[in-house]
């Protein structure tokens, strides 16, 4: 069951040596790629060739290569995480491509995610949003027994759905407003669904949204593009819950 080999592909990729420099597209030819290879393995092979030819390899973010760390990004042929549903770029395989294809690869494009080099962007803004309230205020120790707080099966499941966010930023990259609402909503909603997080729910919503606005992410106009491209299928219903928490927080000010 050997995989088919793609004899030739054209990789059109964004090159930008530093944040200050203006970027440009460059096209490379690459040969003999097994369809069983992952997309990032294809980039490894291209990089190996570039290095041996004395050129600078293409910088891209990645780590776990199994769809969970959220480190990989890439806008491939106009889609965040490429042409497949419910996966990250590192889970994309070359069997989604055909002989002779030109594959266009860009970094996430959003004002709040500046390019560092080539395909690597700076997602520090996501960190700052979490610092603003993405936690329950408890210290280590002095905690009641885990079973002291019963949580209904459905609530736990719904919290888990929201908690599945991997912080990749595809939602922002996909959104025409570069809004981070889905990312923020995932955290706010997870914690609002649980009694432990309920106590601070309003404050959390207010602070995280304020931080998001301050960092220059756009507003949400309910296009739903984020949900479609989210590798973890985080539902926009969480945005509705965030809005509820946010509005009641505003009212109670």
């Amino acid at each position: 069951m050997a995989d088919k080999i793609l004899n030739k592909l054209y990789i059109k990729v964004w090159r930008q040596n530093s944040p200050k420099e203006k970027g440009r597209f460059e096209t490379y030819e690459i040969e003999d790629i097994s369809q069983g290879s992952s997309f990032l393995e294809m980039l490894d092979i291209l990089n190996d060739k570039l290095i041996r030819d004395g050129k600078d390899p293409i910088a891209f973010d990645h780590d776990c290569r199994e769809g969970i760390c959220g480190m990989c990004s890439l806008y491939i042929n106009g889609r965040a995480h490429g042409p497949d549903r419910e996966i990250t770029t590192c889970q994309l395989h070359m069997r989604k491509f055909n002989e002779g294809d030109t594959i266009t690869i860009e970094p996430w494009r959003a004002g709040s995610f500046p390019v560092i080099k080539d395909l690597i962007v700076d997602r520090t803004a996501f960190e700052q949003i979490q610092h603003a309230g993405g936690f329950v205020s408890v210290n280590t120790g002095g905690i009641p027994d885990g079973n002291a707080i019963p949580i209904g099966y459905d609530d736990a499941e719904e919290a888990m759905d929201a908690a599945s966010c991997i912080g990749c930023g595809a939602c922002v990259a996909t959104c025409k407003n570069s809004s981070a609402m889905l990312f923020v909503a995932a955290k706010v909603s997870q914690l609002a669904k649980l009694p432990q997080g309920k106590v601070e729910a309003k404050r959390r919503a207010r602070n995280m949204v304020a931080k998001m606005d301050e960092l220059g992410f756009g507003g949400c106009t309910n296009t739903g593009a984020c949900e479609l491209e989210c590798p973890k299928s985080i539902s926009i219903s969480h945005i509705a819950r965030l809005n509820r928490e946010y509005l009641t927080a505003k009212f109670s000010e």
């Binding site: 069983g36 760390c69 959220g70 497949d84 395989h93 997602r123 960190e127 009641p144 885990g146 649980l194």
Partner: protein, 646 residues
């Protein structure tokens, strides 16, 4: 040989930790504010430690190489986390968890450490629940449990197949709270490249800013290394691409002992290597062996046809299938422990019965349980794993058996630490997978997450106080001191050296070569001849690397190849030490199998008389042979028995 003080408290096993806690010193809140602590690595162990130390009032600086602490490889743990809660009323207890862990580790870990781990385990679950970790629940609202390999009780807590993710996000949120408060300063995209020892004590680290290339010193009254495992020495493993043993290796080179380097875990159920373009391996959860049957063809000609792709698995009639685990281990069958299952697969494939185009795969077949339980039950149990398998391999495991093969997964060995989790360098601590403690020669499923969080939340925050209490008069560490300047110079010098070789081969070439040596000779079964071959071969590889590696790009810019070059240079040296340790240990125990130490049936044979010790390797200088110190393991509460799964 150096003297070994493991600081294990006197007294009965069950009282050691509480007694120790009341004996050790504490630091007043006013003094904590004056003390700086560096935590390198913010996975489960590091994030939980940094957050807890920040809460206590210390000034913490934390470092990780990714762009966020949330991306540490703890995120990838699937199965769950153990805790002796006895919520199922199935007679679980601290002692039982302790005993299972000691036995699972094949009697090569310390009783006192493992008992403490079991003792604090229930607190971890409480802590995570309070943080909002969405553990699986029963309809009544209580926490749900599942069972895991090698034990008879149900004590594993889980959050779908994403337990590591949820626990890490919990620790990350606690860390974020401290970052917001200013008690922890977080440095992302920073790589530690050396530890600084001054007057015999760890006083700081040297890092490289991975975006700008700046090399800089950071001082502190204590340094905690929580940088994870070194499975990537094998090149292909279930670790993330960036996982590395380099930070631990830098500590080793500054005098910290390396404990049991040859103890690595090989997981039997991973997706096989598809070709030489492969960059990493993906784990398929151990739970699959509950319902899948492992087999290869009985006839070699069938195997050959499978390898050529002339026939498929479903063409092989029932009577021509060899369910070799059920055949060899009738009582445990497909559920033998990880090390046994891995070796048995290798044995069949080496004998020519492997089933994929490389001959290095066996079948894990769900046909029988689908017939027995119906497809819906199997879908409910393993749906997400089946989908993941299909995405990667493009075959449908509902219709055709999965193909699996063993892969490197975890490192039990690591920096040697005493009962306080301090290395033999005063002020230098190691926690999580980076240390050697607790798992002996083999780790049980769902116990690494437990250990990382036990270390970070409930052990280190206490034990570090004992050391820091004597440091309250030490002023802020001056990073202009000559020790720091020298370390910075050495780090920069090494980077420049790597960069200026300008050879002909990319870093990955060397990493792959190293991987071949490790997998072939320091892998699932080892013998003196092969290990010597590995040592000689890797030494040659080291020479070649330093002559011929090609690092492109710029020094003072983001440069992943330069980062990799440093890590692979270290991995090459680690590979040599791992082989040396494996050569020294002429017994089979846990994940370490020596062909010379087997029963007549080819099963592992431990040698308690000669090898009941922790090997603590001491660096003696560049290109000098390291010295082996031995910490004898003393068992007062368990009886040593040979494992048998027949």
């Amino acid at each position: 040989m150096s003297k070994i003080e493991n600081k294990i408290p006197q007294g009965p096993l069950a009282e050691k930790w509480s007694k120790h806690k009341s004996d050790i010193k504490v630091v007043s809140p006013a003094n904590k504010r004056k003390l700086d602590v560096i935590v390198v690595g913010t996975g489960l162990a590091g994030a939980s430690a940094a957050a807890s130390l920040g809460e206590l009032g210390y000034n913490v600086k934390a470092f990780c190489y990714q762009d966020s602490p949330r991306r540490a490889h703890s995120i990838a743990a699937q199965g769950g986390i153990n805790a002796a809660k006895n919520y199922q009323n199935d007679n679980d207890s601290v002692f039982r968890l302790f005993h299972d862990t000691i036995k699972g580790g094949d009697y090569r870990s310390r009783e006192a450490n493992v008992y403490r781990l079991a003792e604090v385990s229930p607190l971890i679950i409480d802590q995570c629940v309070a943080q909002g970790v969405p553990f699986a629940r029963e309809y009544g609202g209580t926490l749900a449990n599942r069972s895991f390999g090698g034990v008879l009780v149900s004590r594993t807590f889980y959050a779908r197949g994403q337990t590591g993710q949820q626990l890490l996000l919990g620790a990350y949120s606690a860390l974020n709270r401290q970052i917001a408060k200013g008690s922890v300063k977080m440095y992302t995209r920073h790589e530690m490249l050396d530890v600084v020892v001054k007057d015999g004590k760890a006083r700081g680290i040297v890092t490289r800013d991975m975006v700008t290339g700046d090399v800089k010193s950071h001082g502190a009254h204590a340094v905690v290394v929580a940088t994870g495992g070194y499975g990537n020495v094998f090149f292909l493993s279930t670790n993330a691409m960036g996982c590395n043993g380099s930070a631990a290796w830098q500590c080793y080179k500054k005098g910290a002992w390396f404990g049991n380097p040859c103890f690595v875990q090989i997981h039997p159920t991973c997706i096989p290597v598809h070709g030489d373009q492969q960059s990493k391996l993906t784990l398929m959860s151990e739970s699959l062996r509950n319902d899948g049957r492992v087999w290869v063809p009985k006839k070699k000609e069938d195997a050959e046809k499978l390898q050529k792709g002339e026939i498929g698995p479903n063409d092989i009639p029932e009577e021509d299938r060899d369910f070799y685990l059920e055949r060899r281990y009738p009582s445990y069958g497909n559920l033998v422990p990880r090390d046994v299952a891995s070796r048995a697969a290798k044995e069949r494939c080496d004998a020519g019965f492997g089933v994929n185009n490389t001959g290095k795969a066996v079948y894990l077949d769900f046909k029988y349980s689908i017939e027995r339980l119906g497809i819906d039950v199997i879908k409910a149990r393993y749906g997400n794993l089946f989908q993941m398998y299909e995405k990667i391999t493009d075959t449908d495991p509902y219709k055709e058996p999965m193909m699996i093969y063993p892969a490197i997964h975890y490192s039990m060995g690591g920096l040697w630490v005493d009962y306080n989790l301090m290395t033999n360098i005063p002020g230098l601590y190691a926690i999580g997978e980076a240390n050697f403690s607790d798992h002996g020669a083999n780790r049980l499923g769902a116990s690494a997450l437990m250990q990382g969080l036990a270390d970070g939340y409930f052990v280190l925050p206490y034990t570090i106080g004992d050391y820091l209490a004597d440091e309250i008069m030490t002023p802020k560490i001056d990073t202009d001191a000559p020790e720091f300047k020298e370390a910075e110079k050495a780090v920069t010098g090494r980077l420049e050296k790597l960069f200026n070789i300008k050879g002909t081969k990319p870093v990955d070439y060397f990493h792959k070569q190293l991987g071949h040596y490790m997998w072939d000779y320091v892998g699932m079964s080892r013998n003196a001849e092969g290990l010597q071959k590995a040592i000689d071969g890797i030494k040659k590889l080291k020479e070649e690397f330093w002559k011929d590696v090609l690092v492109p790009g710029e020094m003072n810019n983001l440069n992943p190849e330069l980062e990799k070059a440093g890590r692979v240079a270290d991995a090459i040296e680690m590979g040599i030490l791992m082989a040396q340790d494996a050569l020294d240990r002429n017994e089979s125990c846990g994940g370490h199998f020596r062909d010379e130490s087997a029963t007549d049936e080819g099963e592992a044979k431990r040698d308690d008389k000669n090898y009941t010790y922790v090997s603590c390797w001491e660096h003696k200088g560049e290109d000098k042979d390291p010295v082996l110190n031995k910490e004898d393991l003393v068992f007062e509460n368990v009886k040593l028995t040979q494992r048998s799964y027949k």
